[in-house]
Symmetry: C2
Subunit: 527 residues, 2 copies
């Protein structure tokens, strides 16, 4: 009997089946949560039990218990309003200090101040779990098989190590890409891989390559300064001298939330899996009122406009300027907006508190998407082949729009300096110049044409880690090296020393021989 | 009607279907051919028409025409015996000059001589197609959609470019990995990625890292010297100044014939796909006589022994030594061997001219596999979880066995120096020490547990290139950079110059100020 069970288990392992396991989730706020929620739903569909560690100060993560989904809400010393405040400050600081080569120091100075609050929240959340012995005991008893963690909120890795279970990340990018580069050991050649937040592409003339090279080192330095305090937190929590980076390097798999339709091709390691657009799906029918409105657009079609979940409203002046531009296009416009109705709002524009964004983008009459450039929204536009007008505001949104511009599927307008005419021109360009639609469709074809869907790949690797208690066969030996060993600096130093010693010895021998010859010559002359 | 066809074609493209297309194959001899034949069979199953360009001097590539498979046999000035001679010399030279740190120069000197003959054959084959205008015209008219080329025989890429079709490679490794590194732009950090043919693993102490570092540069230099003449051939054939490397860099996809159960994890680019073991499949029942023989082994099981398709026979002395070792184990032995029957042959050993290797390795009674360490055979052993005794003889076989040793699934014996006792001990170790079987089974589980089978992945990417006329979205921008731009040497040079200039200016200013202060001081003193 036991033999049969073992045989069955071996067979299932061979054909890649995992029976209902226990998955622990360490989530992040906002769009990150929306993305990981898709993975959670799929895991539940595959009969796993999922437990989400949610802070009592969570803003977007709303506990909804089902038989397969448990929310462990841990208490922290602050409320959701503190989380909201930090996010608001973060967005505003970025909006007011958009980084450029001339303002980079001011940007990092200002963002550094906001980051202190961010780290306080993160540490509060982390303490909320680690110092809650009852919760930790409960988690230990729950026999989790894997932790899926969003490393933008540090701590998931510590909890996993404390529970003795393998962990993996879901990540769009880390500040300075330091985590991917130094903790994950991925090579980032600065000559053609643009630094994150640099707004550069993979086609860099000399001046841009200089900027990129400096960006890499500057960002690494800034990351080191701003995240340094975590090293002692990690050491204390794990009870041994360690660093944030060393701990993060233990991740079994990195699920990156991009793919090569969006990303510029660059080197990566076998334990990185690019699952961008895993949340995308075919459009469902629109609500009746909405369908009637978009149908009324006739052959002109309609435009979808949203600035994402983190930006609630614009100033009245900005909203009015935007509304005035929208009023001038023949398309209908659906705008997700909850502020006061702008006086310039055209008859062609309707405001919504919430919109079924994916269903709208997948509607055959969609002509363009005005977006803040969040990765989730961009991927929905790519999936459905909709050209974009980008109005980036913070974090990776500038970069994201630069990527879409480089691939010919978007035009950017600057939220701070734009006029009505700018927005209008941008809209007319992406709607009337067929190349934008063609490029968006090309990206869509790439996104659809993968050997296996991104969501299936993500779930496969989570289940793989559960089946095999890790994915050690994908882990590069680079993790065992110090940074100077990794860059072969000790070897180069040794070889240079050998060459120098050889040159020194040969020179000495030559000089010695010359002198000898000289002396003999003089002697002979004297004789 | 046309609209419907276009719509259908778009839908098929979106869901990743390619209707019967035309695929052109540029194959290589020996085990390479056996591997690509599996891809060809799968392409035919998927209703594609496949045309193989086969030299009249081909040795293993036997034309077998079917409605979907065409062999275009082109005439060359030499016969198959010349190909056989070059292969024989190649194996013998390697066997007699196994490279080690102390013999490396002699090895490259000797192998360099054989390579000259090899290049002559390659050029003969290449001329056989390129200078055959009638054949080139016919190929042009055949409207191929992709060329799958084995780059160990250069030329497939030239033919593809001449025909104006995209091309891709199937490759285990290139000498010095120069092609993957410099032409394919894959980073190979010498600190933890062992140089090909170095017999090192990814765990290298300081001395090994020095050896590896030197190996990288030495091998690059040797590759450059030995393959340099191809640059002018490529330039002439393509009618413009180019190099072998520049042309090879245009490959859309690189199908690498390894995977992470065999390979040490290392960085790679999105247009590299690791499809090692694509030829592996479940075992079929054995021929009756063979089944009876292996069943007669009882609980001891049996051992499979083959030295591959390129080595026909051993010296009588070596064969006798081996037979004597085999006679001393309680297992039955099936030995693929066509020489004179060794006098020491035991009753437990049967000789075969040919064996169903995969079916034997997949038999539940198999205990061990004595192998020369070819990648195909190793992958069959991995697939079925059979521990190995490696008797490597040439090319990557030494490395392959080192990989299997490092992963705990093999023991190596040296074909040149081994005694009967060595082979016997090795066999007893892998059969009686359970860790070898466990490790082989671990590799087997990794090989089986992939999101999509290697063969399906290989065919997917061939079809992808057909559907999209390439895979440009996976191509890194590194291809547009010179080597010094790639390594940011121009940027580093510029920045160092800036720093030097700044230091110079500051020093000058300081000196100038000091002098001024000095003069004023003296003046004041005088006053």
């Amino acid at each position: 009997m036991l033999k049969n069970i073992l045989l069955l288990s071996l067979q299932m392992s061979l054909v890649g089946i995992t029976l209902g396991g226990n998955v622990l989730i360490w989530p992040m706020e906002g769009s990150h949560w929306l993305n990981i929620k898709i993975i959670i739903d799929e895991l539940i569909k595959k009969q796993h039990n999922v437990t989400v560690l949610a802070s009592s100060a969570a803003l977007y993560i709303k506990p909804t218990h089902t038989p397969s989904l448990t929310f462990e809400v841990y208490k922290v010393a602050f409320g959701p309003e503190k989380t909201a405040e930090v996010i608001r400050n973060f967005v505003l600081t970025w909006l007011e200090n958009r980084p450029s080569p001339s303002t980079i120091w001011r940007f990092y100075h200002e963002i550094g101040k906001v980051l202190e609050d961010f780290h306080t929240i993160c540490r509060g959340n982390c303490d909320g779990v680690l110092k809650n012995q009852k919760l930790m005991e409960k988690l230990k008893k729950s026999k989790f098989e894997v932790m899926v963690s969003d490393p933008v909120f540090p701590c998931g890795d510590i909890i996993a190590l404390k529970l003795g279970i393998p962990f993996m990340y879901t990540l769009r990018f880390s500040p300075a890409s330091t985590v991917e580069k130094h903790c994950g050991k991925t090579p980032y050649p600065p000559s053609y891989v643009p630094a994150i937040l640099s707004e550069l592409t993979d086609q860099m003339p000399f001046a841009d390559r200089i900027r990129n090279f400096i960006s890499y080192h500057l960002q690494d330095y800034i990351f080191d300064s701003l995240w340094k305090s975590w090293d002692s937190y990690y050491s204390e929590a794990l009870g041994k001298p360690t660093t944030l980076c060393e701990t993060m390097g233990k991740a079994e798999i990195w699920l990156m939330r991009t793919y090569w339709d969006f990303e510029f091709p660059r080197p990566y390691l076998p334990n990185f899996e690019f699952v961008g657009g895993l949340h995308c799906k075919p459009a469902k029918p629109l609500p009746k009122e909405m369908e009637e409105f978009v149908q009324s657009s006739g052959e002109h079609g309609f435009v979808v406009f949203t600035l994402g979940s983190m930006v609630k409203n614009l100033t009245e002046e900005k909203a009015s300027l935007i509304a005035s531009a929208l009023a001038q296009i023949p398309q209908k416009v659906l705008w997700r907006y909850t502020g006061n109705i702008p006086t310039t709002l055209g008859a062609n524009t309707r405001l919504y508190e919430w919109m079924p964004q994916n269903d709208l983008l997948g509607h055959p009459k969609t002509k363009a998407f005005i977006t803040h450039g969040g990765t989730n929204g961009i991927y929905e536009a790519i999936y459905h082949g909709v050209p974009m007008v980008g109005v980036p505001m913070f974090a990776d949104q500038y970069d994201n729009i630069v990527h879409m511009k480089a691939k010919g599927a978007a035009v950017e307008v600057n939220i701070n300096t734009m006029t009505s005419a700018d927005l209008l021109n941008a809209l007319r360009t992406v709607i009337n110049d067929p190349s934008y639609k063609e490029n968006a469709m090309r990206l869509s074809r790439i996104q659809h044409d993968q050997p296996i869907k991104p969501l299936d790949r993500a779930v496969f690797w989570i289940e793989f880690v559960m089946r095999h208690k890790g994915a050690k066969h994908l882990r590069p030996a680079a993790h065992n090296l110090t940074w100077f060993q990794y860059y072969s600096l000790d070897v180069i130093g040794f070889l240079l020393t050998c060459v120098a010693a050889a040159v020194f010895l040969v020179t000495k021998c030559c000089l010695f021989s010359c002198r000898k010859v000289g002396k003999t010559g003089k002697k002979k002359k004297r004789e």
